[in-house]
Symmetry: C2
Subunit: 225 residues, 2 copies
């Protein structure tokens, strides 16, 4: 069936479980390559800009600059991609190729709870887009300006991301773990695409924990002198 089909025409959605009802569903216009290339290019541009400008900040080490690159990438993903999902309950009905709707039509093959508007998913994505997104961008600034709250802020966002991942995976497991079109989408989309948001926040959270503890130990010694 073509994209220009009449409004009355109904399409069969590719999602699992098969009995999921999505009246008005319209299939993807873009391929996965058409979706990934703009996302990767846009992200790479933002990352390169932050890498370049962070080089001009005094007292910001290379690890901090790399972490700033992560925060710009994750912050924009939270605000733009996940923000669109949260406030667009009917994305799967889009009759014209809207890039952000295409992202979620495609991703729903890995987790149909997105198209089904599962309340747990909408809640976690809402918290991520509205709170963690802007906080990630603030982290870029806080590191660059070496603000005293920089580790606390990063630690908070990392914990939010990790809590979100826990809710995401545990609810899927408890609800039967049957939301992927096939095992390819399960491993590449559901597991693969989310793995960065479990590994990287864990590493950054550990680093923040250590740096805060070191500062408090130093402060304690200073006061004891």
């Amino acid at each position: 069936m073509s994209g220009g089909a009449a409004a009355a025409e109904t399409y069969v959605h590719p999602y699992v479980p098969r009995d999921l009802e999505l009246p008005g569903f319209v299939p993807n216009f873009l391929t996965i390559v058409d979706i990934v290339i703009p996302y990767a290019t846009g992200s790479l541009l933002a990352v390169l800009l932050v890498w370049f400008f962070s080089g001009r900040c005094a007292r910001v080490c290379k690890t901090d600059r790399l972490i700033m690159c992560w925060w710009i990438f994750t912050g924009l993903t939270h605000i733009v991609l996940e923000g669109y999902f949260v406030f667009s309950p009917e994305f799967y009905k889009k009759k014209t190729p809207c890039f952000l709707a295409e992202v979620w039509k495609e991703y729903s093959k890995g987790d149909s709870r997105y198209a089904a508007r599962d309340s747990g998913i909408v809640t976690v994505e809402g918290i991520t887009a509205v709170l963690e997104g802007p906080a990630s961008l603030l982290a870029v600034y806080a590191i660059g300006a070496q603000k005293p709250y920089r580790y606390t802020l990063q630690f908070a966002v990392c914990l939010g991301q990790l809590y979100g991942c826990l809710v995401y995976f545990i609810t899927a497991y408890l609800d039967g773990d049957n939301f992927s079109t096939n095992s390819y989408y399960y491993w590449v989309y559901f597991i693969g695409a989310n793995s960065s948001w479990t590994v990287i926040p864990t590493l950054i959270a550990i680093r923040c924990w250590k740096n805060i503890s070191a500062a408090l130990s130093a402060d304690k010694k200073k006061k004891a002198q």
Copy 2:
């Protein structure tokens, strides 16, 4: 109908929505007073013990001692009460007066998603009982021993509790906000019983944020000297 009814006898549950199916449901044996008194007494005892022993710790101020009392109370609530719920999916079928099952039979009048075993609720309660409960008890020790990680740990648990509350209330709203037997249970159980876990973690988190920032500022000045 009496508590000693035959196994085949069926009871009508008091929960909303009315079409919620709970085969094997057995009504409460204990009244709300029978439930609250042991919980309040046990909590008060634990709190008094911590208040007494924390008075013997050197360099622990009164605010810290009060916060230690909160951590013992919330830690035991998470581990004992919420831990029981997480690992007892059939609590509403208990045919004998088991105190912990009675707690959740009663609380389900404020939020039937507990009896219904909603996956979001089980997930949030699981994270709370398994991670935040032991971490709260560790916070009692960390404050008492003035460990350098004490603020980071408390901050982490507070954020976990706040994230849990957000998921708890937002999913209820998205799913129609119709899980209380009547407005009394809505305001006293659903809103009232949870309000401490939004207000107190917010206050402690702000205090931790400020103390960490102060230590990092002091550390920065020291390095700059």
